[in-house]
């Protein structure tokens, strides 16, 4: 899915007002320096694509994040603010949400969410340069 036509301002607002707190709550207890940043993005659409990939297609060692509050809110945000984005077709989120209510928080998942915080931070900083 190409995120170029999304309403970036509204996405940033929803992130800052809801998703950010969810991610911080998920990382509760871990030091912010515990994981190195290994993923980056260049522009807003690129950042959202990376965020979507890391949120809904986690790596080996982290079964699924799709049932987490931040993932449900990310999904709702993209569905609302990105024309034609429908998570159900793109990565079968609906099935993932039903099958995997809430997974055990593994270290691999913590690392993944740490990368997500980095990507969202990068996305927000693209607004400062305006």
């Amino acid at each position: 899915y190409n995120f170029t036509n999304c309403d970036f301002e509204k996405i940033k607002q929803k992130y800052q007002k809801t998703i950010y707190d969810d991610l911080k709550e998920y990382m509760n207890g871990t030091r912010s320096t515990q994981f190195n940043s290994t993923v980056s993005c260049n522009n807003r659409a690129d950042c959202l694509a990376a965020i979507e990939r890391l949120t809904f297609r986690p790596p080996r060692g982290c079964a699924s994040l799709a049932g987490e509050a931040f993932a449900l809110r990310t999904d709702a945000t993209f569905t609302l603010q990105c024309p034609g984005y429908s998570s159900a077709q793109i990565h079968n989120t609906q099935a993932a949400k039903k099958r995997k209510k809430r997974e055990v928080t593994t270290n691999k998942c913590l690392e993944q969410v740490s990368q997500l915080l980095g990507l969202w931070g990068r996305f927000c900083r693209t607004f400062r340069k305006q």
């Binding site: 800052q16 707190d21 809110r73 709702a76 609302l80």
Partner: protein, 219 residues
């Protein structure tokens, strides 16, 4: 009364089942609440139930509880993104439904601990108050309305709007040797993600202004 009024009836013959709601986020720890009531207080709501669907975490719908004529939900499951649909139901039949966005019908909790301290050296009064929203995750940005009046001036309220929780009133702007009443209410900051209605007023605080020297010399 601090409710959304933007509903339209499905069909002219139906009784007026229009209703209004407000939400309070993190009102009890991380639990939110949603409170609804029929606009017509005389409606017979005995068998009527309310249900909310959409924009919920991990579930599709939630049923309201009922206390006298008020329907309410206490939950952590608000997605806080996008619209929900709230329906009035008679058994399984939806009589009327209304689209609502939980974050746009927020009614803050009333401020509290209003107090006034007179500073003789500065010839002013320092007004302070507290709000539970300073500790919240979501609805943090509020506009406060400080209202004060001379007690004998029934409806002559003066108002000051501020976003902080401290305000100074100049002594020369108030009457000497007079009893004053002061109270505060809050509303979500207009340009914030969260919008909604005025809270209830805080409990009032009463204070007396001193006699000034000019008045004392004339005695």
């Amino acid at each position: 009364s601090g409710y959304a009024q933007n509903g339209d009836l499905e069909d002219a013959e139906l009784d007026d089942y229009s209703f209004s709601c407000y939400s309070q986020l993190e009102v009890n720890g991380s639990h939110h609440s949603l409170t609804c009531a029929f606009d017509d207080p005389d409606i017979n709501s005995t068998n009527l139930e309310l249900e909310i669907c959409g924009a919920l975490l991990e579930i599709n719908c939630l049923n309201f509880s009922k206390l006298q004529e008020v329907y309410y939900i206490k939950t952590k499951k608000f997605l806080l993104i996008g619209d929900s649909e709230i329906c009035v139901k008679l058994g399984e039949k939806s009589i009327t439904c209304k689209k609502m966005n939980i974050v746009k019908i927020v009614k803050p909790e009333a401020p509290f601990n209003v107090s006034v301290i007179y500073r003789e050296g500065a010839n002013d009064f320092v007004v302070t108050f507290n709000t539970s929203h300073l500790q919240k995750k979501y609805v943090k940005n509020l506009m406060h309305d400080v209202a004060y009046r001379q007690e004998k001036d029934e409806n002559n309220w003066m108002h000051v709007n501020l976003s902080g929780t401290k305000l100074t009133l100049l002594q020369r702007k108030l009457q000497d040797d007079a009893m004053y009443e002061i109270k505060v209410r809050s509303i979500p900051y207009s340009s914030d993600y969260f919008e909604g209605f005025w809270s209830e007023w805080s409990p009032s605080y009463h204070f007396r202004t001193p006699e000034t020297k000019r008045a004392e010399e004339m005695d």
